[in-house]
Amino acid sequence: MEVKGSPICLPSKGYQVEAQESPAVVGFVPVQDLLNLARVNALWPLTFGIACCAIEMMAAGVARFDWDRFGIIPRGTPRQADVMVVAGTIPHKLVSTIKTLYDQMPAPKYVIAMGNCAISGGPFSYDGQYAIVNGADKIIPVDVYIPGCPPRPEALLQGFIKIQTKYTKGIIDANRRAEKAARRAKK
């Protein structure tokens, strides 16, 4: 009985999109920090729930966990969204849709890989799996990973907060570390 090869999900090239800051802002760190501060306090996610994690995403938007407190308003079209929350498993049929939606989102845009399926294929990734892509970072660059199957709504909110700190305090800390390293190197 000849064995047909099962297409193990070879990771397609990490999908790098060249997004640059506008030339007028590149040099001025304070302006960039101000812009980042403004951007991350109004993260509008794209309502793009694929599977079970979508229910927990909806639960995060409802009265009990209420992500409106962080200025998070779900938007239907990618044209008005800042964050793409990949909530669920990514089958091969959905890959082109995810790429199209990611491209149609205006910069600056962030991606949250919500749940084990979006991080690494989760409970459905095993040797011989023909249907899914093992993780969202094989398709689009991902900012924050939230483990869990499905992760609790609080974990999703912590993911949003992680994006906020990454692009504000995170950058400031990085700059401070870089200066300290430069000073130590000079000595």
Binding site: K4, S6, P7, D127, G128, Y130, A131
Partner: protein, 164 residues
């Protein structure tokens, strides 16, 4: 422990099925162990005749599925009813790997998509099917996933030692 209504219905069913599919073996099976009351085993054909009698008796086509027994396929049609007592009939037919059975979509419209799924996962082509194409897997997929020689199953690898 069949109710009186079920016994009457089963007798009626057996007679109309025997007349519709003389060459099929119709046997009653124990609902408590198997989950269906009547089992119709066909070997040459007669799917559409069974489907027609079932529709006349107001049964619904619950599901169509196939099982890959390495050298042949087994098509399983499940009919259930909710008008009389509850009764479920399972129709089994053994077909060769490259056989092309007739589609019952003319009788049950639900079969259009149920048979498309069987084609999508097993590659069994149904004759007289309105538009037989893939339904779940990507359209450009060239593999039929649920075949036993596809991917990793216990027929392609030593599955037992992997699991325990």
């Amino acid at each position: 422990m069949l109710t009186a209504g079920q016994k009457k219905l089963l007798v009626e069913l057996k007679s109309s099925l025997a007349e519709a599919v003389p060459e099929g073996q119709i046997s009653e099976s124990d609902y408590a162990k198997k989950g269906y009351h009547l089992e119709v085993r066909l070997d040459k054909g007669g799917l559409r005749r069974v489907a027609q009698t079932m529709l006349d008796k107001r049964f619904m086509l619950e599901t169509v599925t196939a099982v890959d027994f390495i050298d042949s396929f087994e098509l399983v049609y499940l009919y259930a009813t909710y008008y009389h007592q509850y009764c479920r009939v399972l129709t089994r037919i053994r077909i060769a790997k490259d056989a092309q059975p007739y589609s019952v979509s003319a009788i049950y419209p639900a079969a259009i998509w149920l048979e498309r799924e069987v084609y999508d996962f097993f590659g069994i082509r149904f004759q007289e099917h309105p538009d037989l194409k893939r339904i779940i897997n990507p359209d450009d997929a060239d593999y039929f996933p649920l075949l036993k020689n596809f991917g990793k199953t216990k027929f392609t690898d030593q599955i037992d030692d992997i699991l325990c």
